[in-house]
Symmetry: C2
Subunit: 452 residues, 2 copies
């Protein structure tokens, strides 16, 4: 399933602005930065994701002949402009936080430097490709923190907002520590481990669990996960016990059972006892059904005898924070730092760098955002990843991103690991950056007061 890379997947104003830039010969180098304006309510940190797909987009984006044809006759553009689009390519530079990096508001996690028409046109789709994976990775990280050591599986494809969302969600969750996904295409496209069970419809179509469990175990003997809650969870568990001996004679091992409704702690305890007393201590229990990080934390705290969890809808739509206040803003054009000052949405000007500092125990203590050439103590987080439209390295293996993300969660200050809002992590705006903002504002004021 190829990433959608149509150049028409954008906002109309990107194209009308390009028509303006071309006509006014505005092709100087521009720098745009992608950052979050604020954390979603109740959140303490974010995890960067989606860079791989963003770079793939930048490397391949172009206008196909049929798209140019449509643009020429849609009534919004001049023929000469559409002709120029035929040779449009992104040949710029990109600096970015590696995927899996923890970040905070005001920190540019992607910085794009290219001639203005190139850096501008990619805005809509770049935000589209960065925001959503970042949301899901950030939500998934909370789930991982809520149930340490428990395998979590993404079950959310059906309620994701479209197929691309389902695939990107599976990837984002996996890279921060989920064990895998149920989404088959994500298994193929990204090599993510696949997990699956059975649906209530199978039990219903077979009439009852006796027939359903037999049929399923014989058809899929390597992955016998039996669903208990179609009619009565504990009764179904007793059926598992009765059938296990019969199936064992056929060489089939029941691996796991799934509980998908009701009081999961209470059911899991009863089911565990039935399985143990029935001589099936090795059969694990998987729970699903409306889970999110808070319910995971409750089940974990209650020491519910649940071995693994399926997390679906709330993960794939990032239910408590379905969008991120984020922006891709022009910070420099033709060597001049610039910023907008819209009420409540002012941005910081200039090409920036973010430095992170750590305590002796390894925990992150404080970030500093400053102008690119203002070297500060700490680790510089923005790294070059693309030059002249070409990546500087092949796609990072997911295993590597998983290692990085795990390390990042380890280094989170304790307060920030809480599911509840903690004191904000310190992100300082360096004096050099504040000075640059004043300089940019003064330049605009001077321009405005000059006679034109």
């Amino acid at each position: 399933m190829a990433l959608e890379t149509s150049a028409l997947a954008t906002d109309l104003y990107q194209l009308t602005m390009l028509q303006c830039y071309f006509r006014a010969e505005m092709r100087e180098v521009a720098t745009f930065e992608f950052y979050a304006r604020r954390l979603p309510p109740g959140r303490n940190f974010l995890v960067a994701a989606g860079l791989e797909q963003a770079l793939e987009l930048l490397e391949t984006l172009h206008f196909a002949p049929d798209e140019l044809e449509w643009l020429a006759r849609c009534g919004h553009f001049q023929p000469a402009f559409v002709e120029q689009l035929a040779i449009w390519r992104f040949a710029g530079d990109v600096h970015a936080f590696p995927e899996g990096t923890v970040f905070f508001p005001d920190e540019p996690l992607v910085r794009v430097t290219a001639p203005l028409p190139a850096a501008q046109l990619v805005e809509s789709r770049l935000i589209n490709l960065l925001q959503f994976p970042t949301l899901v990775a950030s939500k998934a990280a909370r789930c991982v923190l809520a149930a340490p050591g428990k395998p979590l599986v993404d079950f959310g494809f059906r309620r994701a907002h479209g197929v691309e969302a389902g695939l990107l969600a599976a990837r984002a969750a996996y890279l921060v520590g989920f064990a895998g996904t149920a989404t088959v295409a994500a298994g193929r496209d990204f090599g993510i481990p696949l997990f699956g069970t059975m649906a209530h419809s199978l039990v219903q179509a077979c009439g009852d669990e006796v027939a359903a469990f037999r049929n399923f175990a014989r058809a899929c003997p390597d992955n016998v996960v039996l669903l208990l809650d179609t009619y009565d969870t504990e009764e179904a568990a007793r059926i598992v016990v009765r059938l296990a001996t019969e199936l064992a004679r056929e060489g089939i091992v029941v691996r796991s059972v799934r509980i998908d409704s009701g009081d999961l702690t209470a059911h899991a305890r009863k089911v565990r006892r039935i399985l143990d007393e029935g001589g099936l201590p090795g059969v694990t229990i998987l729970a699903s059904g409306g889970l999110d990080e808070r319910k995971l934390a409750e089940l974990y705290a209650a020491r519910a005898p649940i071995d693994a969890f399926g997390v679906g809808t709330s993960l794939d739509v990032s239910a408590d924070a379905p969008y991120l206040e984020c922006a891709y803003k022009l910070v420099e054009y033709a060597g001049r730092p610039t910023r907008k000052r819209s009420e409540g949405k002012a941005s910081w000007p200039g090409r920036k760098q973010v430095y992170r500092n750590f305590a002796a125990n390894g925990q992150m203590t404080r970030d500093v955002v400053t102008v690119d050439d203002d070297r500060q103590a700490g680790t510089a987080l923005l790294q070059p990843v693309m030059r002249g439209g070409k990546r500087l390295a092949p796609a990072e293996p997911l295993a590597e991103i998983r290692r990085r993300a795990a390390g990042e969660l380890e280094r989170l200050p304790d307060g920030l690991r809480s599911l509840d809002a903690a004191a904000p992590y310190p992100v300082e705006i360096a004096p050099a950056l504040r000075a640059l903002a004043e300089e940019a504002d003064a330049r605009v004021a001077a321009l405005r007061s000059a006679p034109r």
Copy 2:
């Protein structure tokens, strides 16, 4: 941009269940129904959308050679099963509420009848394609009700969850009454009117509004919409007044201005006065920036002099209700009605029909959900749309769906038009359906108590 129709865009368990159905020779006719379990908090109704894409999926879904190859070697399936998938096609029947129909919980808006392996396999993607457009159409309908007569434009692509979500959101909003979208691909693919303005980056790159407005107006003289809030909204409005005369001499008419931040009512009033006093009463005001149905209602109630609105993020992610408690459930197999009884998630068995009744003034008064052959008073909402895998009619023109949706919103009982939760609309479960549920439960009980 073609709809993604890969057969691997599904959950693993659909395929393992199919392996079971094939092995157990379970190929009898099954009926599944898609319905909402409950309304999202604070909502009074839903609007059906997404059927067109769902039917497109059912008509075209198949396993491509490379997908079969991958399935054969992924380790989850037996070779004989994968061979059978090569000829898998959906050749079933579909009944559905036409798009744009208002509906309520427990009402099946799509009913699929096909051999079990066909009806089962489509579950994940069918939910994926129906849930999200329905969410956006329902949210968009609230926006339309909140600002009657005001043109609304979808500005949400960048924060939609992926490209497919952005396209489907543009379509769903348009079909319930939005004037159009900024998403170019939605204009091309669905023929939705496109609207666009300019971004702050253009003003910043040009240095100030004087240069930016001149450049833009000359480059796009047919669609001069000028953005006011990059630095100072009212000062920018005064620049518009000064430039309008100069541009008029070049034959260029300033059509509109946009305000994107701050107190929109206060700014709109000041800007309106500046424009009127500057001799520009015909220049309209477009407002955007964090709008949703509640903010639209406030602006409308305040009689803010705003002529049109851009509604973005909150629409495209259905921010207050980013998912719908919905399901696609087996209701009949091999002539036997069936239902699951999972706690809190029990479903109604059997093939159903929904009848809607209206008052003399045309308002809808009461729906009855019953078994398919239990004729009730009122209009039957489920209509045949596909037989044997083929549609019964070509894709419905969006103009037609828009007319229907407008009529539906007209016929909503007054209480339900409120943005706040009202007394629920009466949806009755007919006695015949209750009797069928008892019958289905009795059959399962009998099966379970029989010696096996």
